[in-house]
């Protein structure tokens, strides 16, 4: 054990902080190995939170934090961790970090805490976190695991925000709370006041389906389709 540890240390010293491999760890999950559209992990929360942009963004930040630090912690513990209870240990680490997020938000960003409500707790069951721990952190050194966590968190968050943007605009006519299209004065494009807004968009109505989780399923499906049509690497020809 001691020998391998020394060896590892030597290699770690030679490796740059942000070499090619490290940059790949950050960029891969954004496209080629996206947790939602390619690994198909974390779908459950992606369907549920994405009705509004702001909670999605906060959720994304929280997942980046939890994913990165859970990866880091588990990677640090990986050599001493008894294999029989590794899942339980991983869950303890995740649940711990999520509780920290919840406590801190409640003390310093109460409004956001109120808005996210149940979803903070749901990060614990987010498959991405556990998936990355099992697939990456258990077999890699801490710094790389940390980067992998950030990369996957960002990949997840990016999709979340894209889906939320589409759903909020078409479902509610707003974007991050800004009123864009609707039938009262408060909206930028007013579809009921007889001006150009009504001439062009008088027929427009919000799509009620977009508000429901099923819409997220369609939007994610379409995103996967678009991604695969230009990224041939992802298409399984066999």
């Amino acid at each position: 054990m001691a020998d391998t540890a020394v060896q590892e240390e030597k290699i770690a010293v030679q490796e740059p902080w942000l070499g090619k491999k490290e940059r790949q760890l950050l960029s891969d999950p954004l496209n080629d190995n996206n947790p939602i559209t390619v690994q198909v992990l974390g779908i459950c929360s992606a369907l549920a939170v994405t009705t509004l942009v702001v909670p999605s963004a906060v959720m994304a930040v929280a997942v980046v934090f939890v994913c990165a630090f859970a990866n880091l912690t588990v990677s640090l513990l990986r050599n001493s961790m008894p294999k029989q209870v590794r899942m339980i240990v991983q869950l303890v680490v995740i649940a711990f970090l999520v509780t920290v997020v919840e406590l801190v938000l409640k003390a310093f960003a109460f409004e956001v805490y109120k808005q996210l409500s149940v979803f903070i707790g749901l990060i614990i069951t987010n498959c991405i976190v556990m998936g990355r721990l099992e697939a990456f952190a258990m077999a890699n050194r801490p710094w790389r695991s940390f980067l992998d966590g950030i990369g996957n968190g960002l990949g997840y968050g990016g999709i979340l925000i894209i889906v939320a943007t589409i759903r909020e605009i078409f479902g509610k006519g707003t974007f991050a709370g800004l009123k864009i299209i609707g039938a009262t004065e408060a909206y930028a494009i007013n579809t009921a006041d007889g001006s150009w807004g009504q001439t062009l968009f008088g027929w427009y109505a919000n799509n009620g389906l977009m508000v429901l989780p099923a819409a997220a399923m369609f939007v994610i499906g379409i995103l996967i389709w678009i991604q695969r049509s230009y990224n041939q690497k992802l298409v399984d020809i066999s």
């Binding site: 009705t51 909670p55 008894p82 209870v85 240990v89 711990f96 406590l103 409500s117 508000v211």
Partner: protein
């Protein structure tokens, strides 16, 4: 493979460390959280009185709240000793119905006299609650706020987040009333199709949040009784 002894000691050590850190964080952040919670509650009551109060800063909220008269009612509608802000609806709910206390806030200002009543009920996932500011006919709604523990953002949580939904309660013409003296029915959160005949006693529900909206209807029906008993004594 590690020995059983190692596994036990390892998990014991890990859980102890986690428990100690969490306990430390929880207790050290508690005062901040309590302060947020209390301020949030005050803001909530004030927003029911006037939606513009939402943008006031912390000190202004404290000052405004200080000018609000606070009463506590028992289920028969009699005033009992105490301050409304000390009544925790969450705890009251667990008591027997005959022992519950109800907070009532009375606001006098800007030429208005508003009575803020509170109710608590069940949403889809967890509790929902709300406050209604009533004009001095004790029927017409002048303002409203809602809150919840765990409704879905974008769906059930819209009762709190969607200003347009809340505005329906006090911005419609004719003004909405919480109770119909002729039919003996309370205000209803209605799903689908407009029925103009009953417009003053109905509010349009939120799409995709049927259970939460039904919860609001039930909450109003159940929660108003002691307040109405008190208001009847005022009328005489």
């Amino acid at each position: 493979m590690h020995s059983n002894k190692y596994v036990f000691l390892y998990t014991l050590a890990l859980t102890t460390v986690v428990a100690v850190v969490l306990a430390f964080l929880a207790t050290s952040l508690k005062p901040l959280q309590d302060k947020n919670e209390a301020l949030f509650k005050k803001k909530d009551i004030l927003t029911a009185i006037n939606p513009d109060f939402k943008d006031k800063n912390d000190e202004e909220i404290e000052a405004l709240f200080g000018s609000v008269e606070q009463l506590v009612l028992n289920p028969e509608g009699n005033v009992v000793e105490g301050k409304a802000e000390d009544v925790d609806m969450k705890k009251e709910e667990k008591k027997d119905e005959s022992e519950r206390l109800y907070p009532l806030y009375v606001y006098k200002g800007e030429g208005k006299e508003l009575y803020v009543v509170s109710a608590r009920g069940n949403g889809l996932w967890d509790k929902i609650w709300g406050s209604f500011a009533l004009e001095n006919d004790f029927r017409t709604i002048a303002g409203v706020t809602f809150d919840h523990t765990g409704e879905t953002p974008g769906l059930g949580a819209e009762i709190k987040d969607n200003d347009d939904f809340k505005a329906q309660f006090y911005n419609q013409d004719p003004k909405n009333k919480i109770y119909n003296d002729e039919t003996g029915q309370y205000l209803v959160i209605r799903k689908g199709g407009e029925t103009k005949a009953n417009a003053a006693y109905e509010v349009d529900a939120i799409s995709g949040a049927t259970v939460t909206c039904d919860g609001v209807t039930k909450m109003i029906e159940k929660g108003m009784k002691p307040y109405f008993a008190y208001f009847n004594t005022l009328k005489k």
